[in-house]
Every structure is written in structure tokens, then in C-alpha cells.
């Protein structure tokens, strides 16, 4: 029997968090190997484990997969969270890519200079309520089903719910005008695998603090 997937990253959300969410949603237990010192980082690169000298990297099924999207695509396909045919996959891809654009803004926010932070947060709020949430509210309204695509759980639902938790951390009122999206968040959060992941003590990571950010800067020579 294959071992558990091994996630190589540092102990923070960053670009690995959506992978943790998707594995958790698929009910897959995983191990984490945290990069904590410059020595850890050098070893990983010198041992030839990282195709492009970057993390995230996930060891699974005999592969050392890098590039966030490649990792997510593999997990989604393996655990049947990627639609049943090429047209459903196209829809899932479109929704997922839009979500990734918004998620990117959250991921890089901690690295933003303090004097630009307010402007960046304002932009995130605007994009959330004007560009992205209206799309997903409309999708759910149009078919009246419990999931975004194909009347069954897919990665699109998981990525959206993850994103909604970040939106809530910034400003819970942003979800006020999107009742169907809110309901999806509740439904997905109540799935047994998700419920477990959302408990304290799980492998879900909190927002990064100043100390961890400094540590990351040291390890990567400024990530």
C-alpha cells in the first residue's frame, strides 16, 4: 500500500494551503515536512528533489510533484473531484482559475509593504463583491443544485469554501449579499472530512504572524 503523501513547505499557508484543503476534503491523510532553517532549504534543493528549485512539492504515488496547479490537478483527478467529462472539467477549470486569481491576492498580502496594505485590502474587497462572488452566486442560482458543477462535490466547491473563510477573516459582511454562496459554505463545512479539518488541532494553518514571516524571509533569502 502506498505511503501517505508528504508535503514539503514551510509551516504556513502560502501556496500549500489549498493542497492541504483538497487532500483533507478527499479524506486523504498526509504528512508534512516543514522547512524550518536555511539548511533544510539547501538540502531539499541540493538533493535534487525540486524540479524548478521551488516549493510546494508533494511526494505521492512515486512522484515528486511541483507547481501548485499540477499538484491540485493530480489530486482532483485521482479522487474524482474533477468532473465526469471534459465539459465539466472546463467549467471547473474556469471557476477554479478565477478563484485562484482572488486567492493569489490573499497569498501575497502578508508580503505587501505596510503603506500599501490598506489599498490592497480595499481591492480584495472590491474584487470579492464585484467580480467573483456574483459569478458563483449566479451559477448556484441558475441550476439550484447543492454544488457548483455536475450536482456533485468537486474541487471547485472546496476551493471556493477555502476562499470564503479568508474573505470572512478580512470582513464577514462581504458575504451578506450572497445567500447561496453562504449556504454552500455551510453545507461543505458540515461534510465529515471538512468538519474534521476545520477543528482546532488539524493541519489547517492559521494566518501568518510576524515571527513566521521573518523566519520564512531568512530561510528563502526573502521569499
Amino acid at each position: 500500500m502506498a505511503g501517505k503523501p508528504k508535503l514539503h513547505y514551510f509551516n504556513a499557508r502560502g501556496r500549500m494551503e489549498s493542497i492541504r484543503w483538497l487532500l483533507a476534503a478527499a479524506g486523504v491523510e498526509f504528512e508534512e515536512i516543514f522547512i524550518e532553517t536555511p539548511e533544510d532549504w539547501n538540502k531539499l534543493r541540493n538533493d535534487g528533489y525540486l524540479l524548478f528549485q521551488q516549493v510546494p512539492m508533494v511526494e505521492m504515488d512515486g512522484m515528486k510533484i511541483v507547481q501548485t496547479r499540477a499538484i491540485l490537478n493530480y489530486i482532483a483527478a485521482k479522487y474524482n473531484l474533477y468532473g465526469k467529462d471534459v465539459k465539466e472539467r472546463a467549467l471547473i477549470d474556469m471557476y477554479t482559475e478565477g478563484m485562484a486569481d482572488l486567492n493569489e491576492m490573499f497569498i501575497v498580502l502578508p508580503l505587501c509593504p505596510p503603506d500599501q496594505k490598506d489599498a490592497k485590502i480595499a481591492l480584495i474587497k472590491e474584487r470579492t463583491t464585484d467580480r467573483y462572488l456574483p459569478v458563483f452566486e449566479k451559477v448556484l442560482k441558475s441550476h439550484g443544485q447543492d454544488y457548483l458543477v455536475g450536482n456533485t462535490l468537486s474541487r471547485a466547491d472546496i476551493h471556493l469554501v477555502e476562499l470564503l473563510y479568508y474573505v470572512e477573516e478580512i470582513d464577514p459582511s462581504l458575504l451578506a449579499n450572497f445567500p447561496l454562496v453562504k449556504a454552500l459554505k455551510t453545507r461543505i463545512s458540515n461534510l465529515p472530512a471538512m468538519k474534521k479539518f476545520l477543528q482546532p488541532g488539524s493541519q489547517r494553518k492559521p494566518p501568518i504572524d510576524e515571527k513566521s514571516l521573518e523566519q520564512a524571509r531568512k530561510i528563502f533569502g526573502m521569499k
Binding site: 524548478f52 507547481q67 496547479r69 499540477a70 485521482k78 472546463a90
Partner: protein
Amino acid sequence: MAAKPKLHYPNGRGRMESVRWVLAAAGVEFDEEFLETKEQLQKLQDGNHLLFQQVPMVEIDGMKLVQTRSILHYVAEKHHLFGKDLKERTLIDMYVEGTLDLLELIIMHPFLKPDDQQKEVVNMAQKAIIRYFPVFEKVLRDHGQRFLVGNQLSLADIILLQTILALEEKIPNILSAFPHLQVNKTLKEPDAELDLRTTGS
């Protein structure tokens, strides 16, 4: 018979160029509706033709596909350019994603301040030569096959070729240390099915 795909984008490379390459490689004829004014973009947005109010958008098989990667995946899968199984697909994904990181520098280059542009060419060249090209050179050397994955043309080869040619426009000898990439590039240049030279603006 299905209508030709219709590409909506300004008359320039940008994020649509990869899509043009893949369609051409697949032998698919396509139409282009160039966005030349703000009003045209507004019209597309107001008409709800753009899921996230953005281009690229490709009308294909009854869908209005947006998001570059979604479009590339759909075309690649439809035209057998995405490997024969999940493992090959994952390799192709990894190689494409790495190459797209490099291509992103090229796409953004025209929008940099003139003073920053020359510095960025140096940065692109370094990334290509130190991080990306050695990986693909090793892949080709290790399996000795003509194409990156599965001994047949895939999305990975096409996006890499696009990127190499774009870099050569700025740094003509950029492949000089990579003999296997030179061969891979030659094998993909004009042949009966792939009239890639006519692509691009």
C-alpha cells in the same frame, strides 16, 4: 460541422498567444475578433460574455471559455496533446506550469517602464538558463526521445517552443548550451501539419 473557434482579444500576443499556438499545432483553424476600443470590451462585459469580465475568451463548442489555462487544457485534451494517462498529464502539467512562469516574464515585459526593461531581459535570460532550460534538457537527454512526454507532441512541447522563440527574439543565442532543446525545437518547426511560423504577430 462545428464552427471555427472564435478568439476575443486585442491584436497582440499577450495571454492569447499560447492559445493560438496550441490551436495551430492541433491543426484547428480559428477566427479572431480583435478588441480595438474600450467600447468593444465594454460591450462584451455588458453582454455577459466574459465570466470574470476579462479576456482571453474563446468561443468553442458552444462554450465561452475564459482563463488561459482552462482554454489550453480544453484544447489540449480535445486534440490529444495532454498525454495518455494521469501520470503523463501530471508531467505535462508540471512542465507547462514551469514554462508559463517564464513566459509570464515575457508577457509582462512590454508593460514595464523603459528603464526596467533591459534589466528584465537579463533576469529572463538567467531564469531560462539556470532554472528552466536545464530541466528540459535533462528530460530529453535522459529518455532520448523527440518530445518531452510520452514520445509524442504535447502541450509541454508547444508552450516551450513558443517561449524559446520569444526569448530568442531578445537573446538570439539563448539555446547555445542546450543541444537537446535545439533538436526538440527543430523537430517542431514547420512540417506538414504544423505551420507554426504563420502564428504570432
